[in-house]
């Protein structure tokens, strides 16, 4: 087990280290692609092997990492079924992306580096997944952020890529800081960051001690802060803006990092932290997830950039997962995570294939962006979506009719689309989405909670919209007549290294692994999360918890709870997840979800295939709504605006201020800081601190000059000083 996990982690790390060492010696590694891919495949195989060895009652494998007096920080792995499933998902998708990239990235001047970064990413992601403690998770967490940064900015000559990678890193880091503060809160309370019981009790055990005490509010805050990390990483509202921009990276990166794995890490983290989530923090998470789902879905409707449609789709789907966890459907969330990982990776790779087809030369990153690259102000983040700003090879308006040219791509993408749209029964996406909707509705009914009813409705609408925009994508890309003949001529099916991964993923978009999640012997019963009665849930129960029974049980940690779980718990009516079988809520949810999905597909068909309805007409009719969607709810503008408001006092500089002149969030911060703070530091350091010092020096110097002036050179002046001095001394000391 230790050997396997070591291989899983070290194989990709070694691949990266080889690259780094050779690079340092200024020798490129021509076969980095093979090395990385094999490393990844090895990790995948080991993950599969690990799958069979999984201990039903896992114990963390830990070592003491840092010992400080009474406090020890340990590092270790915790391998339970969820972990292993994640490992398999990550290694599998990663392997496929590696293979795909061998075709997609072929001919890139930094081809080896790409694979090295992918390896580093894989290592970080795997480390995150297996860590048994918050510190380890945080380490992996930041490392995947780094890799995301490096890979988004892989074509860093493009200013938009350079901006996007920075924006991605910084935006997620805002969330990470929240997570870190949350960690500090937990650490201060529990003196440990281990989650599970090892040599000492972990947080999940210790948190029981808080039950019923006044610390519940505190725990809620800590939970929400930890969740902040997930908000950043999983691109939840309001920190979602980086993900669409992150599409500046190579498409395989988008598939691996920004669809399947890293962004899902937030969901994974939230799920992992489930035992410490209180009712109110859960509700916050649920709302954030729900809002994200609907907001991103609506934005996706009006995008034309194929990758951005997928990006917003990803955001939306991540919202679903968060909603599930927030609503207590822990397993549903994770289940959707896995299914989504496959079909969304497939969609991205498919789109990559399309883009590749349109642009076999792989030089687009050098060409399209030269025209309006603007060095004066680092202003790119805002206007990507406007017409010509979309790279032509990604603009769906240039596509159409590709299904004949690229049959493999078409079919695989169609499968994925059917899956994500929730087409019933034979596609995995249907099942996972249904679990979520069902879970939320169940919670709502069970608690009679208005919040959860609202969330259910939101989720349902979002699901419908998902079906709509996904089919819009399919119709615009693969059906109809080619819009751009020239480009259409160039298009061709991708080489086998690219299509094989597509096929594998397409296979996985069918419900082939679903049963894993519903095997009670394998996936331990999730939280016996005794969430309160709804009235408490609605009115911030933490303030009242001291007189409310509140208990937490844990996934595979507490034997008692595990046992209870196997017997379906002492409170099976509250069992939050689908493995209890279909309750009425689930049935209702399933029916409704089929209806909305069908409706969405139908609308899409009418709009974009049959042209019975005119998208233009609708958008004109609902101009304000359209604008809202088109401008992505003005989130970027909002960030810019807030920051700009800070600079209003410097209006002279910004006399010609105009919303579109201002940067994206990071550049906004940068600009504001540069101007305001440069002025301030200039003022403060030079005028106040140095100023005081200089003033003192000046005064000293002046006094020196004055004293010099007394030294007139005339001896009688000196004598005056002598005699006057004597008189003064006598007078002063007589007075004293």
């Amino acid at each position: 087990m230790v050997v396997l996990i070591s291989i899983i982690l070290l194989a990709p790390l070694t691949a990266f280290a080889v690259y780094a060492l050779l690079g340092l010696a200024n020798k490129g590694n021509p076969r980095q692609d093979v090395l990385s891919t094999f490393a990844m495949l090895a990790a995948f195989i080991c993950s599969i092997l690990l799958f069979w060895q999984i201990d039903p009652k896992p114990v963390p494998l830990t070592i003491d990492w840092i010992s400080l007096g009474s406090i020890t920080f340990s590092m270790g792995f915790y391998l339970d079924s969820v972990t292993v499933i994640m490992l398999i998902v990550v290694t599998l998708v990663s392997s496929l992306v590696h293979i795909f990239s061998m075709g997609y990235m072929h001919g890139d001047p930094r081809y080896p580096r790409f694979f090295a970064f992918l390896s580093l990413f894989s290592f970080s992601m795997l480390f995150l997944v297996v860590s048994d403690n918050l510190l380890g998770i945080y380490i992996g967490w930041e490392l995947v952020g780094l890799c995301s940064y490096l890979l988004i900015g892989f074509w860093f000559e493009k200013d938009s890529a350079a901006n996007a990678c920075k924006k991605a890193f910084l935006t997620t880091r805002v969330g990470d800081v929240g997570m870190f503060v949350g960690m500090m809160m937990l650490f201060t309370k529990f003196k440990t960051l281990s989650l599970y019981d090892g040599a000492n009790a972990g947080i999940f055990t210790l948190v029981e001690g808080l039950s019923g005490t006044g610390d519940m509010l505190w725990l809620s805050v800590a939970g929400i802060l930890i969740f902040c990390g997930a908000v950043g990483k999983s691109a939840q509202v309001p920190l979602h803006t980086w993900l669409p921009d992150a599409m500046e990276g190579p498409t395989p990166v988008s598939a691996l990092i920004h669809a399947a794995t890293m962004v899902a890490a937030g969901v994974y983290l939230t799920a992992r932290m489930f035992p410490i989530l209180t009712t109110s923090s859960s509700l916050v998470i649920a709302y954030v997830g729900g809002i994200t789902a609907i907001v991103a879905a609506t934005i996706a409707i009006v995008r034309f950039d194929i990758k951005r449609v997928l990006a917003y789709s990803t955001v939306s789907q991540l919202g679903f997962m968060m909603l599930a966890i927030g609503a207590g459907s822990y397993v549903a969330g994770l289940f959707h995570l896995t299914t989504h990982a496959f079909f969304k990776a497939l969609l991205f790779l498919g789109s990559g294939s399309v883009i590749h087809a349109f642009h076999a030369m792989h030089t687009h990153h050098d060409e399209e962006h030269t025209d309006d690259a603007n060095h004066e102000h680092d202003d790119h983040s805002l206007v990507h979506e406007h017409g010509s700003e979309i790279p032509p090879d990604q603009d769906m308006r240039n596509m159409g009719g590709l299904r004949r040219k690229m049959p493999f791509t078409f079919i695989t993408m169609l499968i994925a689309t059917l899956s994500i749209s929730g087409v019933p029964f034979i596609f995995s996406g249907f099942w996972s989405k249904d679990k979520i909707l069902g879970g939320v509705l169940e919670r709502a009914m069970e608690w009679n909670s208005i919040h959860h009813y609202i969330l259910f409705v939101i989720a349902l609408i979002a699901a419908g919209i998902t079906a709509f925009y996904m089919f819009r994508l399919i119709f615009m890309t693969f059906f109809g007549e080619p819009k751009n003949q020239e480009m259409h001529e160039m298009a061709h099916e991708s080489p086998w290294v690219m299509t094989v991964p597509l096929l594998v993923l397409a296979f996985l978009s069918f419900p082939v692994v679903n049963h894993l999640w519903f095997n009670k012997d394998f996936v331990k019963p999730p939280m016996q999360h005794h969430i309160h009665a709804p009235e408490h849930a609605q009115v911030l129960p933490d303030s009242k918890t001291h007189n409310t029974e509140f208990s937490l049980a844990f996934l595979g940690v507490s034997e008692a709870n595990a046992a209870e779980g196997e017997e379906n718990g002492h409170d099976s009516a509250h069992g939050a997840d689908g493995h209890h079988g279909h309750s009425p809520a689930h049935t209702i949810a399933m029916i409704l979800s089929i209806i909305v999905a069908g409706f969405g597909i139908l609308l899409s068909w009418l709009f974009y295939h049959k042209r019975r309805l005119s998208a233009e007409a609708v958008s004109t009719t609902f101009r304000p709504v359209y604008n809202l969607f088109w401008n992505k709810y003005y989130f970027d503008e909002f960030y810019d605006g807030v920051l700009v408001a800070l600079t209003v006092w410097k209006s002279r500089l910004y006399a010609q201020f105009d919303g579109s002149v201002v940067d994206g969030i990071v550049n906004g911060v940068g600009t504001v800081t540069r101007d305001v703070f440069a002025a301030f530091t200039g003022f403060f350091d030079n005028s106040v601190v140095d100023g005081i010092v200089n003033r003192i020096a000046e005064v000293t110097w002046t006094i020196g000059g004055r004293i010099r002036r007394i030294q007139t050179g005339a001896i009688q002046t000196y004598l005056f000083v002598v005699i006057g001095g004597i008189v003064l001394i006598i007078l002063i000391f007589r007075v004293l």
Binding site: Q716, V727, L731
Partner: protein
């Protein structure tokens, strides 16, 4: 204190000393000042006599009047043309100097008036004893031999120095 001839003479000397000293510091002609200084020096010599310091009075006359004053007059003649006989003074400097001097004087007078040790000490009734031989003994044989010898070195130094600095002039 009854007014006797002795006191009259004393006050005469006192007035002469102070008056001429006042002239020294006020007259605008340097030669006049030099002569006023002579009177002051004589006056002080007179006071020495009243203090029964006979040898000292003689020394005062000889050294000061005979030596220093002549030196000063030579100095005046060598450095001052007719036009430079007038001593420059400036009003501001005068006022400031006068002020400081007055303050100093007031302080000194306060001390003199308020020091019990110095009060009511009169010289009536003591017998005059010539001091010269005692001075000679003290200087040459007793406590003051060392100062005497050092003073001789000092005078030698002054001699050499004055000559040296003057020689500069001669060689020019």
């Amino acid at each position: 204190m009854e007014i006797t001839l002795k006191t009259l003479i004393f006050y005469g000397f006192a007035l002469m000393t102070i008056g001429s000293a006042f002239a020294v510091v006020t007259v605008r002609n340097i030669v006049h000042a030099a002569f006023a200084l002579m009177v002051t020096l004589f006056g002080v010599a007179g006071l020495y006599v009243f203090l029964q310091a006979d040898f000292l009075a003689a020394t005062q006359v000889i050294v000061y009047v005979g030596g220093i004053l002549v030196l000063i007059l030579f100095g005046v003649m060598m450095t001052s043309g007719r036009l430079q006989m007038r001593i420059h003074i400036e009003r501001g400097q005068l006022i400031l100097g006068g002020g400081i001097t007055l303050a100093l004087l007031m302080l000194l007078l306060t001390v003199i008036a308020n020091t019990p040790k110095w009060k009511n000490l009169s010289d009536d009734g003591t017998v005059f004893v010539p001091t010269t031989s005692r001075i000679g003994k003290l200087i040459l044989n007793e406590a003051f031999l060392l100062p005497f010898e050092i003073a001789s070195v000092l005078l030698l130094v002054a001699l050499i120095g004055a000559a040296l600095i003057s020689r500069k002039e001669i060689r020019d």
